[in-house]
Every structure is written in structure tokens, then in C-alpha cells.
């Protein structure tokens, strides 16, 4: 038999392995992390995974621990994934909206309607006479971003999406710098390639 504490710690551990734990929605696990964070941390430290608990933003998640010495590096457990160009672009643009939202001192959550999302992305998709196809493409992108857990449909409001703050943790400056570099390179090659023809 597990004691109540062990049960709680195990539950929180499993919740973390399943994905992001939010203060708002995963109250029990969140409280456990507050109280017995050390136990959970120890558990993950053994396999080279850091537990990040952000009190201000109200979320907790797992990250591969950063080790300076490469020899000490454990095999990577947290999976990385390359996203498609459109999904990446939408994430970057949403990241910007989050910064703007915070800079203007709004409180609560950033909520965007589907139309707003479409508006944000449309400029960056090639002009097409087939407007419907562009919109469809955007809808697919929105769906993919939602599957990644960075936006969430509001209950009872089918066309409104909350931009979750966890986006800040996953799409950070380092990740974006990498993307920006590659994209600029591509743009340059496209331009010079176009000039040669």
C-alpha cells in the first residue's frame, strides 16, 4: 500500500510525464508539486530530466537537463520535433502577441478568435486566387497548434482560442533564433538563386 503522500507524488509524476501540468486545471497535482516538489525532482533527476515549475505563470513541465560536459550527457528522453513551416510561423506570431499582451498590462488570458488567427497568418501565405484554400490551410495549421497544446479552445465558445502561456517556455528566444537563422539563409539563397536565372 502507498501512503497518501506517495500516492500524490506518484500521481503528479505521471501527470508530468503525460504533459504540461497547469495550476488552473490540474489542481491536485499542482499542490503536490508545491508541497513535495523535491521528491518529484529527485525522481526525474536520475534520468536526466529537469522539472520546471513556474509559479508566476502557473505551469510545470519536464525538460532535458542541461549539462555542460558532453561526456556526461545522458541519452535524450524528451522528444524534439521539427514543426512545419506554417505551424512554426503561427507559433512565432502568437509568441509576439503574448509579449504585446503583457506589455500593454492586460490581465487574465489572451483570447483570439479564429478570424483573428486567420488574419495574423494570412499575410504570410502566398497570394492565391483560391482564397478558400488559403483559409483551409490556416484552419489546418490552427488545429495542429492546438494538438501541440499551445492554444486551447474555450469551453462553449467554439471559435475562440486561448493562447497558453506555456508557449513562452517551449518557443523561447534560443529556439526562435535557430529558426530565424535558417529562414534568413533560405531567403537569401532564394533571392540569389532567383537572380542567377
Amino acid at each position: 500500500m502507498r501512503t497518501a503522500t506517495e500516492q500524490a507524488v506518484s500521481t503528479a509524476t505521471i501527470d508530468l510525464m503525460r504533459g504540461v501540468v497547469y495550476r488552473e486545471t490540474d489542481e491536485d497535482s499542482w499542490l503536490t508539486l508545491q508541497r513535495h516538489g523535491a521528491a518529484v525532482r529527485d525522481h526525474f533527476a536520475a534520468i536526466g530530466v529537469d522539472v520546471i515549475i513556474d509559479d508566476t505563470e502557473g505551469y510545470a513541465f519536464l525538460r532535458s537537463e542541461s549539462v555542460d560536459d558532453e561526456a556526461e550527457q545522458l541519452p535524450r528522453l524528451v522528444k524534439r520535433r521539427s514543426l512545419t513551416f506554417n505551424v512554426s510561423l503561427l507559433l512565432v506570431l502568437l509568441r509576439k502577441r503574448l509579449v504585446e499582451f503583457e506589455t500593454s498590462g492586460h490581465e487574465g488570458k489572451l483570447v483570439l478568435s479564429r478570424d483573428q488567427l486567420v488574419e495574423i497568418l494570412r499575410v504570410f501565405l502566398g497570394d492565391s486566387t483560391n482564397e478558400a484554400r488559403v483559409i483551409e490551410k490556416i484552419d489546418t495549421t490552427i488545429k495542429q497548434v492546438a494538438e501541440l497544446g499551445f492554444i486551447r479552445q474555450l469551453r462553449g465558445q467554439p471559435n475562440h482560442w486561448e493562447v497558453r502561456r506555456i508557449l513562452k517556455a517551449y518557443v523561447d528566444a534560443a529556439t526562435m533564433a535557430d529558426f530565424a537563422g535558417k529562414l534568413s539563409e533560405y531567403a537569401d539563397s532564394l533571392n540569389s538563386g532567383g537572380g542567377d536565372d
Partner: protein
């Protein structure tokens, strides 16, 4: 104020715009009632819309049904738009539903309109006292010379001594009824104003916060210089005049002694005959505490976020993010017509475990073949009784039929009985006879014989049932 200032206010200030709005009576009566009179805080959109819908339907019953044609939601949305500015519309962190709260502009318009109603009389005496009292506080509060301070205190003591002597001699100065009403009126006014001030205090805090954030976001110097600038400009919330005064008020109000004293005073005053007591004022100090608590909470939240926003890492990250976004946006526009296949590389949330043995072994199922051409069915014997019981047959009626026809201890053929009482519900009714379970009735089937029963089904087609000879008998 010069002409231009006033013209600009008339054009742009939400309070003035509200007063000019065609729907002003609706807006003021509804929002004023909800947020000011009832002292509600931020309210979920659904609840507010329901309340508004109720009021609208009352108004619509008039002669002109086309009035107020929009839905409650639309009205609320309109009133929260920047060009109106009478409601604040936002998503709180802990709710999926949009919330509305009144803006100070609405408060002002409402209090101005309520001020238009003629007061029974305008007390001036009490206000003079207040003014003099305030002057005294200022003058003595800034007096540095101990000698002068002593003189003032002694003067006050002399005055008190005089009053004590008078009381001992049996003379008590009483306030006249007029004086009481005068003071009560001022008390009521101030008490209400205080309440409505909180919303403005909150709004001002928000303004300070916004200004500070803008400054932080656009700051190019060092962090130390930024902090110095923030503190010296008193943009920091707790160091602002507003913050200090509010904190002092809050501390004052929250002390137990104060609460008790206020409570006692209010009870006493409300009982005075000379006062036309306003019942809502009886518990005004609770309303104050509540409103102050709400404001306090907002302030705490804002300060916390601001501190976080000032945090080194966040600050640097935000600037970097904005730079990078700009860079990415530029490049993305360039490659608009030939988008690349590259993308962000992000960690996937969570560490899913796939245990091979959690999965079932391959389960060979026979392939389902679908043949849409159904072969004509062969005639088969099926038990159809389950189908027949679906039609409701009133067995009590059937039993009554038997009792009405068959004498006690007598019996009759079922086929004869149904000639008297034609079958109404088809075969179910015949089965119903066979299934009768009454103490005084019995149905017997004799395999050696045969009964034929004719009836018409619900479509009117003739049907014939063939069954073993059935006899119904009464005991």
C-alpha cells in the same frame, strides 16, 4: 478649461459620450443598477446578459416592439468597445468566460445623473465643519514647533474641559434635527462616493502599470537606470500617492477596533428618528471592505506581474523575442511564394511511455465481408412474441370482457368471445387473452382442436389467426 479642451472632452470622453448616447437611459439604469447600486464587481458575461435580457423584455412590452432590437450580448459587446468605453471586457485567468466590469466613466456618468435629482435640502453647515476640520489637520499636521503644537493641544483640552463642566452641570448640547439631517446627508454622500472611488483607484493603478510596462519595454539603458527612473517617476504602484493613500485607508479600515466602532456608530445613527435612514448605508462598511479587498487584489496581481515583467530574464527574453519576430516576419514575407520546409524545433511536452506488453497481441479476426445483395430470405419459424408485447394491450379490459360475458364457473370459446368484442389491437390482443393472469380466469389450449379468429389490422386489412382451440373459463 479652454474651449478646445472641453470640445475634446465632449468628443472623446466616454462619460460625455455616454450622456449623449441614444440608449443612455438603458445603459445607465442597467449598468448603474448592477455595478453601482448593487456594488457588484466583475461579472461573467452570461450572468450579466441574462439580467439585461430580463430588463430588455420588460422594456419591449411597450407600444413600440422594435425598440431595443439587439440581443443583450450585442449590447454588452458594443458598450465594451473602445469607442464606447463603458465596460471593461476581459478573460480572467481562472475562467473561460468573458467578464465585464464597469469603468470609472460609467460611475461618473451615473453619479452625475443621480445628482440631478433634487435633494430635499442641501446641508451646508456640516460641510463647513468638515472643511475647517481638514484645514486644522493640515495646519497642525505640518507644525514643527513643539511650543505651537502644545498650545493647540491645550486649546483643545480647554474646550473639552468646558464641555465636561457643562455636562456635569446638567447642560448637554444637542444637535437639532436639521443639523442631524445635514450631517447624515453628507455622510451618505461621502460614503457612496468612497465606494465608487475604488473603481477609479483600480483604473488608475492599471494606468500606472501600463505606463511602467511601456517604459520597461522600450527602455534602452541599463537596468539600474530603469529602476531609478521608475522609482523617481513614482510609476511604481505602491510608491505612488494613490498607492500610499489606498494602503493607509485599507489598513485603517481593516483594524478590528475600527470595524467595531463603525458598526456601533452606524447602528446608533440609523436609529435616530430625525434621520430618514437609507437601509443600504447600514452595512456600508462591509461594502467598503469588499470593494477595497477587490481593489487590493487587483493591485497585488498587477504588482506581481509587474515585478515579474521587470525580471532580468523575462525582460531580456522579451526584447530578444520581439527582435527575432521582426526578423522572422521579414524573411517569411520574402519567401512567401516559395515557403521552405524547415520549421521550429521544439521539445514535445511530456515523456510518454510505450510499454510493448501493454498492447494486446495481434488478434486475428475473420475478415468481415459485406454483401449488399441480400438473398431472399427462406421462410422460417421465428418466435415473434417479443414483437407482439410491444403494442400495449390493456389486459384489464380483456379480463372485463370475459367477466361480462361468461357466467361464473362457465366457459366459452375464445373465438366466440372475440365475435362479441372485435379485436382492436391485432394479434397482440389475442396473445393478451392467452396471457391473462387473473385469479378468477383461466385460459386453456387444446391441441386437438383448432380456433380461427378473424380481425382487421390497423390498416384495415383482414387477417386470420389459426391457433389451438382456446377456451376461456371463470372459476
Amino acid at each position: 478649461m479652454d474651449f478646445e479642451t472641453i470640445a475634446a472632452l465632449q468628443e472623446r470622453h466616454p462619460t460625455w459620450r455616454l450622456l449623449r448616447a441614444q440608449n443612455a437611459p438603458l445603459i445607465l439604469s442597467f449598468l448603474g443598477g448592477h455595478f453601482v447600486e448593487q456594488n457588484n464587481g466583475a461579472t461573467p458575461a452570461g450572468r450579466l446578459a441574462d439580467a439585461l435580457e430580463d430588463q430588455l423584455s420588460l422594456l419591449r412590452t411597450g407600444d413600440d416592439e422594435s425598440r431595443f432590437a439587439k440581443t443583450a450580448e450585442d449590447y454588452l459587446y458594443d458598450w465594451s468597445q473602445p469607442e464606447s468605453g463603458w465596460l471593461r471586457r476581459f478573460y480572467p485567468a481562472d475562467s473561460d468566460e468573458v467578464h465585464y466590469d464597469a469603468t470609472p466613466a460609467l460611475e461618473r456618468a451615473y453619479s452625475w445623473v443621480s445628482g440631478l435629482r433634487q435633494r430635499a435640502f442641501v446641508g451646508t453647515e456640516s460641510r463647513l465643519h468638515t472643511v475647517v476640520d481638514l484645514l486644522r489637520q493640515i495646519a497642525y499636521g505640518t507644525e514643527q514647533d513643539p511650543q505651537a503644537r502644545l498650545e493647540v493641544l491645550q486649546q483643545q483640552r480647554d474646550e473639552i474641559d468646558r464641555q465636561i463642566a457643562a455636562a456635569e452641570a446638567g447642560e448637554v448640547d444637542l444637535l437639532s434635527d436639521t443639523a442631524i439631517r445635514d450631517r447624515y446627508q453628507q455622510f451618505a454622500g461621502t460614503a457612496r462616493e468612497l465606494l465608487s472611488d475604488f473603481r477609479e483607484v483600480e483604473e488608475n493603478f492599471r494606468g500606472l502599470d501600463r505606463a511602467a510596462r511601456e517604459r520597461i519595454a522600450s527602455w534602452t539603458g541599463s537596468k539600474g537606470a530603469l529602476l531609478a527612473e521608475l522609482v523617481s517617476s513614482r510609476a511604481d504602484i505602491s510608491s505612488s500617492d494613490q498607492g500610499a493613500s489606498f494602503q493607509a485607508f485599507y489598513d485603517f479600515l481593516l483594524s478590528d477596533d475600527r470595524q467595531d466602532e463603525l458598526n456601533e456608530l452606524l447602528t446608533t445613527v440609523q436609529r435616530l428618528a430625525a434621520v430618514d435612514a437609507d437601509r443600504r448605508l447600514r452595512t456600508i462598511h462591509h461594502d467598503w471592505s469588499e470593494a477595497a479587498e477587490r481593489t487590493q487584489q487587483t493591485v497585488r496581481q498587477i504588482s506581481e506581474q509587474l515585478r515579474r515583467f521587470l525580471d532580468d530574464q523575462v525582460w531580456l527574453e522579451n526584447r530578444r523575442v520581439l527582435d527575432l519576430v521582426r526578423q522572422i516576419e521579414g524573411a517569411a514575407l520574402q519567401v512567401r511564394d516559395g515557403p521552405p520546409t524547415l520549421g521550429l524545433e521544439v521539445d514535445l511536452p511530456g515523456v510518454p511511455i510505450n510499454l510493448p506488453f501493454e498492447r494486446p497481441l495481434y488478434d486475428a479476426r475473420p475478415a468481415a465481408s459485406v454483401d449488399s445483395l441480400a438473398a431472399p430470405a427462406d421462410e422460417v419459424e421465428v418466435d415473434t412474441s417479443a414483437l407482439f408485447t410491444q403494442a400495449f394491450v390493456d389486459q384489464a379490459r380483456l379480463a372485463d370482457n370475459i367477466r361480462a360475458t361468461v357466467p361464473e364457473r362457465g366457459s366459452v370459446l375464445l373465438s366466440d368471445l372475440v365475435e362479441l368484442y372485435p379485436v382492436e389491437r391485432g394479434i397482440a390482443e389475442i396473445v393478451g387473452y392467452l396471457a391473462l393472469n387473473e385469479d378468477d380466469l383461466a385460459v386453456e389450449l387444446d391441441e386437438s382442436g383448432e380456433s380461427l379468429i378473424d380481425f382487421h389490422d390497423h390498416l384495415g386489412a383482414g387477417k386470420r389467426v389459426r391457433l389451438p382451440r382456446a377456451t376461456v373459463s371463470r372459476r
